[in-house]
Amino acid sequence: MDRHFDEELQNVKRKLVEMAALVEESITKSLDALKKKNPAMAEQIREIDHRIDKLEISIEDMCVELIARHQPVGSDLRFLIGTIKMNNDLERMGDHSVNIADCLKYVVEGPQMTQITNIWSMARIVKEMLKDSVESFIQNDAARAQKVCERDSVVDEMRNETIRILLTFMLEEPEKIGSAIQYLLVAKNLERIADLSTNICEDVIYIAQARVIKHHAEQKKS
C-alpha cells in the first residue's frame, strides 16, 4: 500500500508533467505562428503562459509544504529539490516562448526576408530536446537525460551559424536589419530553451542517481 506521502509526490509529478505539456504546446504554437506569420496566435500563447505561471506557483507551494511537513530524505528529497528547479526552468521556457511570439508583429509588418531555414532546423532540435527531457523525467531515465545534455552544443553551434547568416543579410540588405534582429532574438530564445532543457536533464540525473553533472562538477571533482 502506498503511503499518503507517495501519493502526494505522484501528484506533484503529475502537475509538473501537465506544466511541461503546456510549455511544449506554447513553444510549438509560437514557432508555428512565426513560420506561418500568423500574429493572431500570439494571444493564445499569452493565455497558455498565464496557465503555466499559475501551475508554477501551485507546484512550488506543494513542494514547500511537503518538505516542511514530511522532512523528506534520499530520493524523495532529491525529487522535490529537482522538481522545484525544473518548475522554475519550465516557467522560464514559457517566457521564452512568449518572447518568440512577441517577435511576430515586427516579422509580419516589417520588411519581408527570405526564410532562414537554419532557424527551423534549430527549432526542431530544441523541441526534441524539450520532449526528451520531459520523457526522461517521467521515466526517471538518467541515460536518456544524459543524451539530451550532449545535444546542447549542437544547438549552440546552430545559433552561431544563424547569427553569421543573419549578419550577412544585414550587411547585404540594411533595410531589413529590423526583421533580421527579430530572427536573431528567436535564435537566442531557442538557444535558451535548449539550455533550460539541459538543466532539466541535469536535475533528472540528480534525482535518479544523486550525481551532479552541471558545470562539469564530476570532472572537476576527479
Partner: protein, 249 residues
C-alpha cells in the same frame, strides 16, 4: 580513528544481538546510530564501555579497539575504560546529592579530595555545559530540583569532570521537550570540539541535524555507515532508505 570494531558479534545466551559489525569511528565527530527498536544500537553503544558485561549470559567475539588498544583484552583496565568512555542515558540520572557533589562524584572516586581542585573541576565542568552562570550561587542545592534539561546537562558535566575522551549518549533527549532538545543538541555540537560523541537516537531529524557520520542498524547488522549527508540524501542500501523515509520501522 578512535574506535575500530572488527567482526564484532554479541550474543545474549543464544540470541545474536550484533552480527559482524565492522566500523571505524572518527575522533571529534558526532556519530549517530539509528535503527528500529531492538536492532542492537544500544547494545552496540554499550560495547564501547563494556557495560554489556553487567548482563548475564553475554558473549562477545571479534575486537573493539580504542586508540589501537583492545578493550576486551584481559589486561585492559576496566575502571580506566569507564573513565575514558562516559555514558549519558535516556533519563537524566542525577544522584540525590547537591549539584556540586554530583559533579565532584567522579573526581572523588579518583581520589581527588583537595577542595580547591574539586571546586575548579566543578566550575570547569559546569561552564562546559553552560550551567555555571545559572547555578554558581546555588551549587549546594539538590540536583533533583533542577529541570529535566538542566539535570541532563548536569549528568554530562558529571562525565566531563573525569576528563573522558568519548561520550556515549543513549537517546539523551528522549525525555526532553523540543526546546530542551535543541539546547542539548547545541551543547553536543560544542562538545565535539573536545570529545568524540556517539549518540543512539530514534529521532531521525536529530541524527540529520547533528551527526557527522551515521550508522543504520537492522536486526543486529550495521547495514550502512557513511557521512550523514550521504545517508540522508543518497543512502546506498534500500533498507536504509525505507527506514529513514518512514516506509518501515
Amino acid at each position: 580513528m578512535i574506535i575500530t570494531t572488527a567482526n564484532l558479534n554479541l550474543y545474549y545466551h543464544k540470541f545474536q544481538a550484533l552480527k559482524n559489525v565492522n566500523m571505524d569511528i572518527r575522533r571529534n565527530l558526532i556519530t549517530g546510530i539509528i535503527g528500529p527498536s531492538g536492532c542492537g544500537k544500544s547494545t552496540l553503544l554499550r560495547v564501547f564501555n563494556r557495560m554489556n558485561e553487567l548482563i548475564e549470559g553475554v558473549r562477545i567475539t571479534g575486537s573493539v579497539l580504542i586508540d589501537n588498544e583492545d578493550i576486551y583484552s584481559p589486561l585492559h583496565d576496566l575502571i580506566l575504560l569507564r573513565k575514558r568512555v562516559g555514558m549519558v542515558f535516556q533519563r537524566p540520572n542525577a544522584f540525590p546529592l547537591s549539584i556540586f557533589d554530583n559533579v565532584a562524584y567522579g573526581p572523588r572516586v579518583w581520589n581527588i579530595s583537595d577542595k580547591k581542585t574539586l571546586t575548579e573541576i566543578v566550575e570547569r565542568s559546569l561552564i562546559a555545559v553552560d550551567l555555571f552562570d545559572n547555578l554558581k550561587d546555588r551549587l549546594q542545592a539538590p540536583a533533583l530540583s533542577l529541570s529535566a534539561e538542566k539535570q541532563q546537562r548536569l549528568c554530562i558535566a558529571r562525565l566531563l569532570a573525569v576528563e573522558p575522551e568519548i561520550l556515549l549518549m543513549d537517546e539523551p533527549c528522549s525525555a526532553l521537550d523540543p526546546i530542551a532538545t535543541g539546547k542539548i543538541e547545541e551543547l553536543m555540537l560544542e562538545l565535539k570540539k573536545m570529545y568524540t560523541i556517539i549518540i543512539v537516537t530514534h529521532n531521525m531529524q536529530q541524527a540529520a541535524r547533528i551527526a557527522d557520520e551515521v550508522g543504520f542498524m537492522l536486526l543486529g547488522e550495521l547495514v550502512e555507515f557513511d557521512t550523514a549527508k550521504t545517508v540522508f540524501t543518497n543512502p546506498r542500501d534500500k533498507r536504509t532508505f525505507d527506514y529513514i523515509s518512514g516506509r518501515f520501522g
